[in-house]
Amino acid sequence: MALAKELFTRLLAGAAVLWAAASLAFIVLQLLPSDPVQVIYGADSTVTPEMRDRIRADFGLDQPLWQQYAGFVSRTVTGDLGTSYQQRRTVVSIITSELGSTITLASLAVLLAFSLAVLATLATAGRDNWLRRVISSLELVSVSTPAFWIGLLLLTFFSFQWPIFPVVGDQGWKSLVLPVATLGIALFGTLSQVMRNEMDQALEQPFALTARTRGLSLWAVRWRHALRHALIPALTIAAETFGALLAGAIITEQVFGRPGLGRITLQAVRNQDIPVVLGVVLFSAFVFVTINIIVDLLYRVVDPRLRARA
């Protein structure tokens, strides 16, 4: 019962966040000095006043601002995000058609980053040796190197110099390796740093010593007991990770010429394709909210102490 109530509160808060994000984005985009007609028409040829009026009417831009806002909100509630100024397609169809490619890229990258981070954490937490210093330096490099540059380096070596992985066209899994590595490496550093920090602390706890005195090996203590502790902060930054993923996807998709949400976002922002920008903002906020709700629920799974309290 408590769980249901909490879930309800969370959903309500989530809806509020979505509404706030949508409204804020709507207002900010209204403040831009641009003339949507110019954006819609492109600067391709002369726009006569009659055409200007027609375009305004077509896109509902001739209505007063509050009406545009009300229309935007009510349409959004029904799942209609409008039509792209530049592609003339509905925003929903643009997002759904690009989403698959980004999900594949992002989930594989998370998997890679997470596996690397777990390995690095298990191998180095609670120790002070050369391996730890090497891995921490790698993490630092990963955190501080722009994904753009990582991507270009990987391409230079593994596609241009030694043609192992193709950069041109979609050739199945082979085309995924370098983009996934680019995005994964960029994520790995933060994740690994946070997890090790937590595991370091866990290993200093009395329970670690107790477990050792029960005869558990050092690895078993790390794997069975301390790793759980390390997972909690990893979960906490999951939403942030999602942000990093979207930002990383923009760059990765750009460098590798992949279809996807990131590429669409960049294009829309660059071209001031307002409906698409709004759509992406809303979609991101939606995912952000969802992830946070799921993470809160997951805490209970990972950390039994929370279940006991609730």
Binding site: S34, D35, D44, T46, L155, G257
Partner: protein, 532 residues
């Protein structure tokens, strides 16, 4: 009329000269897949959202009424012949028989009319003063409200490629913009077989093709089996792809990669001078400081443009002296070359004469106003080299007591600043094969909103030349008017030309017959073949 920016941009590519690797029809081999890495078109319906990228990607999918060569001469294509009335108001095109769209429907006079009418209705005919489009048998007649000599050029452009009316009727705007087989239907030598947005556009030979333009190298179907256009936005990645033989052609090679490409024994670097208006400063004469021709002249001789070009463009641009580039199909005035040279002392003297005295901080002042100039440019007009170049300009101008700042903003913001007249200079280039480009950039009524007279140039003598050139279809007469126009612009420093940009393409040596199109874009793949 012919507007401007995007149009300018779309035409970025009209080129002359240096037609690539020589090719001979008798040698040509049939077959093979050509892999091109290039920029992506946003929307595949040219009437809905047309960009240079769309036009270049689809130039082999759609046929046009007439074909323009690099000297600006016209040849029969879908129109087997045409006549122009003496007053230049009526154009009658006889449509060739037996042309079929990829979907099997006929490209007849009625289909031509539907396409032209759609252009008039949806795009206001791109500013062309079209009165009506009519069909009588196999003749399509275009009537104009006033004489407009570049009409044939406009009709020859990829943006006016004929789309199957059946596909327009059958598919929604949304579908047509996304494009794909059966949707993006033309009558050209290649047809669309697959389109993955964000990734590629795959074209396959149209075996039925028997209506090549008269100036094409060969007849009948194209040589290549397939053309794969792969979209890579990053310059370095496109160059890497062609260097590592993952692609046969890379468009948009950056200056910094020229040395590498030229050193590569498997690659040839093709270059052409971009036709149009050079990368230049439009000078806003509505601002008091710049209304004075002495100040404008000082800006022209106060910067060592040739030295900066050498240092920054690394041999991929030449100093510009005219309002047209040497790449324009006709009308370039080569006499203007070398009309001025770097002379900071003379520039300083001109500013002194104009009453601008050096103030305490080294910047000149007059009546309490500082000689501080802001140049505006849009992100999509900019590139790394221009960024670097601007720093050199700033340093040079600082020495003669002029403060210079360059702002590069997104197009919509730039648009707003233009409307509010909040700028001193505009730096960009425009591209088109047609010298009529000058009309939009300098005729007194062509201010922003309709066109690109950012300088508020209002010169009756210049207007007269530009209007006369628009009224006559006689090529020599037109050249005479444009030469005069270029002189007037130079004498009054209405424009400060900086550099003539080049268009660079890296091509694998096994690819034969690559040319440039009239807009300086990579040309049609119809005559291209692969050595096997």
């Amino acid at each position: 009329m012919t507007k401007t920016v995007a149009r300018g941009l779309s035409l970025l590519l009209c080129g002359t000269m240096l037609a690539a690797v020589p090719s001979f029809a008798q040698d040509a081999q049939t077959g093979g897949t050509l892999r091109v890495v290039t920029y992506e078109p946003l929307c595949l319906d040219q009437n809905e959202g047309s960009s240079r990228n769309t036009q270049t990607a689809l130039q082999d999918v759609y046929d046009r009424l007439v074909s323009e060569d690099l000297e600006g001469q016209f040849h029969p294509w879908i129109a087997s012949e045409w006549s122009i009335s003496d007053d230049g108001l009526t154009y009658a095109f006889t449509i060739r028989d037996g042309v079929l769209f990829h979907d099997g429907t006929a490209l007849d006079a009625e289909a031509v009319r539907v396409n032209l009418q759609r252009w008039v209705d949806d795009k206001g005919a791109g500013g062309v003063p079209v009165e009506s489009v009519a069909v009588d048998g196999n003749v399509v007649t275009v009537t104009l409200k006033s004489a407009y000599s570049p009409l044939l050029h406009d009709l020859s452009e990829p943006v006016l490629g004929f789309v199957s009316p059946a596909s327009i009727e059958k598919y929604s705007k949304e579908d047509r913009c996304t494009g794909g087989p059966d949707i993006t239907v033309g009558s050209g030598p290649f047809k669309v077989v697959a389109r993955t947005s964000g990734q590629d556009l795959i074209l396959e030979r149209n075996d039925a093709y028997a209506w090549a333009p008269e100036n094409a190298v060969h007849d009948g179907a194209a040589y290549l089996d397939r053309v794969e256009l792969r979209f890579l936005t990053e310059d370095a990645v496109r160059v890497g792809a062609v260097e590592s033989d993952q692609a046969d052609i890379a468009t948009g090679v950056p200056a910094i990669a020229v040395e590498d490409v030229e050193a590569n024994a498997n690659l040839t670097l093709l270059r052409t001078e971009q036709p149009g208006i050079p990368w230049s400063f439009w000078v806003n004469q509505s601002k008091p400081a710049l209304a004075d021709v002495k100040v404008r002249e000082a800006l022209r001789i106060g910067v060592d443009y040739p030295a900066l070009i050498e240092a920054v463009f690394l041999g991929t641009a030449t100093p510009a002296y005219s309002a047209l580039t040497p790449g324009i199909s006709f009308g370039y005035d080569a006499k203007l070359e070398g009309s001025w040279s770097y002379d900071p002392a003379a520039a300083a003297a001109l500013l002194d004469e104009a009453g601008w005295v050096v103030g305490s901080d080294g910047i000149r002042e007059k009546d309490g106003a500082r000689l501080s100039l802001v140049s505006l440019s849009a992100v999509n007009w900019n590139n790394q080299q221009r960024e670097l170049f601007a720093q050199g300009i700033q340093a040079n101008l600082q020495q003669i007591g002029v403060e210079f700042t360059r702002e590069v903003l997104d197009f919509a913001t730039v648009d707003a600043r233009f409307k509010a007249n909040e700028y001193d200079l505009v730096d960009t280039s425009q591209s088109a094969a047609e010298p009529n480009l000058l009309f939009g950039a300098f005729q007194s009524e062509q201010l922003w909103e309709t066109n690109t007279n950012w300088g508020f140039v209002n010169d009756p003598a210049l207007d007269a030349e530009l209007e006369a050139a628009l009224a006559t279809t006689d090529r020599d007469e037109r050249i005479g008017h444009y030469v005069k126009a270029q002189e007037i612009i130079k004498d009054n420093a209405y424009l400060i030309p900086i550099a003539n940009p080049q268009v660079l393409i890296a091509v694998n040596n096994r690819v034969q017959g690559v040319t440039f199109g009239t807009s300086g874009q990579v040309g049609s793949y119809y005559d291209v073949w692969l050595q096997q």
